[in-house]
Symmetry: C2
Subunit: 360 residues, 2 copies
């Protein structure tokens, strides 16, 4: 065993990372961490040998003797991801589990066990924490998830961090890295509702009850597409991601990982009727808003047709995977085939929230 | 599926928990959460059916087709568990994984995959985060653990939350709830080093280099007893816990879970020579200090003798499991068999750190 007293870091190896997280950004940091792990991992160890998906996809996956195990972890941080002035504790419990279920859905596998870590200020009311668990248990029950354990610590702000474990049997997994040129790009459900809900709350918009309730639902009580993800796998789909950062940002994640580009027909993007009615900029909400937790996937035309029949929810073709020229790009077009301006923007931590890069 | 719009909580069910976390404390909160989960879980679902250890032990465990899977999660919170003025980033990476490895060690199983969630302020230096990963990878490599994934979020304070997954093959697990009356109580290694290290740093004690380095090692670079835990299982031990809260506090966890009491011979407690030399109150450090990450276990006399031969580290018998009279209790005695005063104290979140209750 390497002795702990030898713990030291060669200074030259990390000179290239002399910058603050706010300069490097979340995705740059993930790349740097990945490099650091790859430099020092013992690739011959059984755990590394059996790991088939590591850092960089929606969930990690590894072989056991009889199946594939999956694990994902996602978090909600007070005043970064949520505001107790707008979300209820029950909704917070639901959403904290939903965002993790959505990552398992995006791999097309079966969620099983959750470990829940809570970081809480001492002055919180106990009943609020129990309401949080009631909201979470409601969603867990719907998807057969058992709360197996967790951890509780004192902290200055509320943070909820959930690890969700799942399993896949015979079929391969949905991945970000397996999109092919010529495949159609499709999405489940409608987009933009969560972003509309956030805008309504942030701008204190007074909307009629039905619209307000629909938007709030979309933002705080998303229903992850778990069954739909499993159907995608069984129908032969290879590439998918859940829409958490935003349609364009998440399509970029697929293009980067698959080494391809994409073109979207913005007039085909299924925007929710409520955002069409309430927000003049509803297309932007659907393209860049995020947190819809719908599935974005790519597949051949026949497969997409089969999926339209197999799923109860809407499935809409919005574009096509194309050959990459230079760097991976996502091109936006209108109904006449004309390119329209767009941005590569979506949620990125450390860079003051949303980061913006004009599309090519 | 239950519709999310039905999310609401019956007010009468939570009336008994109208109090702040600072009044209820960490362990009371865990009990309340457990009640809430048990009220609403769907016990017929396969995930609940296969779960054999849920909330309340060192790790959760469930059956798969061919083995037992284990999962544990533990965290380090800045200014609650660590202070960047004293610990280096490499040490922090080592320790964050070590405390999780120790939970898997306490169940006697094999650690395999870690998911690392980091909550970080934007003004941190990237190279420090990479030093953190280097420290963690050093320990991971020693125990065959692969870093399979994780999550990164912006936050106002540093929080590190790791979920560690493991596996057990044929043998049963070590649990807190399986100690039997008449069994000997034994510990691996020496106790009190971590508490001595903390005291040295907090009181800015000027000690000679060797003592200072030994204490610092004990506090920041604990080596979890992973192999030792596996040996305990193979030798037939049933009950164990790792010493994280403190010897007395953790023995209370075993007594509470096993419905027994215990008596400790304080003169037999293996205190580390360095704390004997540096601290007049060294026995208190060993009894109440915590963070030693040694294993505390119970077993019959012959089994303990076999374990002394099977392990490379010291194994010391310090007492005996006794019949519970009234509530579970841990009695402290001196070399003459006289009862000496003690307290039920150990780390508890929300109650301003250490909580104190006089022993019976």
């Amino acid at each position: 065993m390497g002795l702990p007293c030898h713990l030291s870091t060669a200074p030259d190896a990390i000179m290239r990372y002399v910058m603050k997280l706010s300069e490097l950004g979340e995705f740059g940091l993930i790349d740097a961490i990945n490099d650091t792990i790859n430099e020092s991992r013992v690739v011959t160890q059984p755990s590394w040998q059996k790991l088939i998906i590591g850092i960089g996809d929606d969930a990690a996956a590894w072989h056991t003797d009889t199946s594939l195990q999956l694990a994902t972890t996602d978090s909600l941080v007070q005043d970064v991801h949520f505001d107790l002035d707008t979300i209820t504790w029950e909704e917070l419990g639901w959403k904290a589990l939903a965002i993790n279920l959505s990552d398992i859905a995006a791999m097309g596998s079966i969620p099983l066990y959750a470990l829940v870590s809570l970081f809480l200020p001492s002055e919180l009311e106990t009943e609020d924490i129990l309401k949080f668990y009631r909201g979470m248990m409601r969603l867990a029950g719907n998807f057969g998830v058992a709360i197996a354990g967790g951890n509780i610590s004192k902290a200055s702000h509320i943070i909820i961090s959930i690890t969700l474990l799942g399993e896949a049997q015979d079929n391969p997994l949905l991945k970000r890295s397996t999109a092919s040129i010529g495949e159609q790009i499709a999405v489940t459900g409608y987009l933009g509702l969560a972003a509309g809900g956030l805008k309504m709350l942030q701008q204190k918009m007074a909307l009629e009850d039905k619209a307000s309730s629909t938007l709030r639902h979309g933002l705080f009580l998303p229903v992850p597409r778990v069954k739909e993800g499993q159907t995608l796998v069984s129908q032969g789909v290879k590439a998918a991601i859940d829409i958490s950062d935003g349609l364009v940002a998440d399509l970029y994640h697929i293009c980067d990982a698959s080494n391809v580009s994409a073109v979207i027909r913005t007039d085909m993007v299924p925007t929710h009727p409520t955002i069409q009615a309430c927000f003049p900029d509803y297309l932007n909400l659907a393209l860049y808003g995020g947190e819809d937790y719908e599935l974005l996937f790519t597949a051949g035309k026949d497969t997409v047709e089969n999926i339209k029949h197999a799923l109860d929810c809407p499935v809409t073709v919005i574009g096509e995977i194309t050959k990459k020229e230079g760097t991976a790009s996502v091109k936006l077009t209108n109904g006449k085939g004309e390119t329209i301006p767009g941005e590569r923007k979506g949620w990125e931590h450390f860079k003051n929230g949303k980061s913006n890069t004009p599309l090519p």
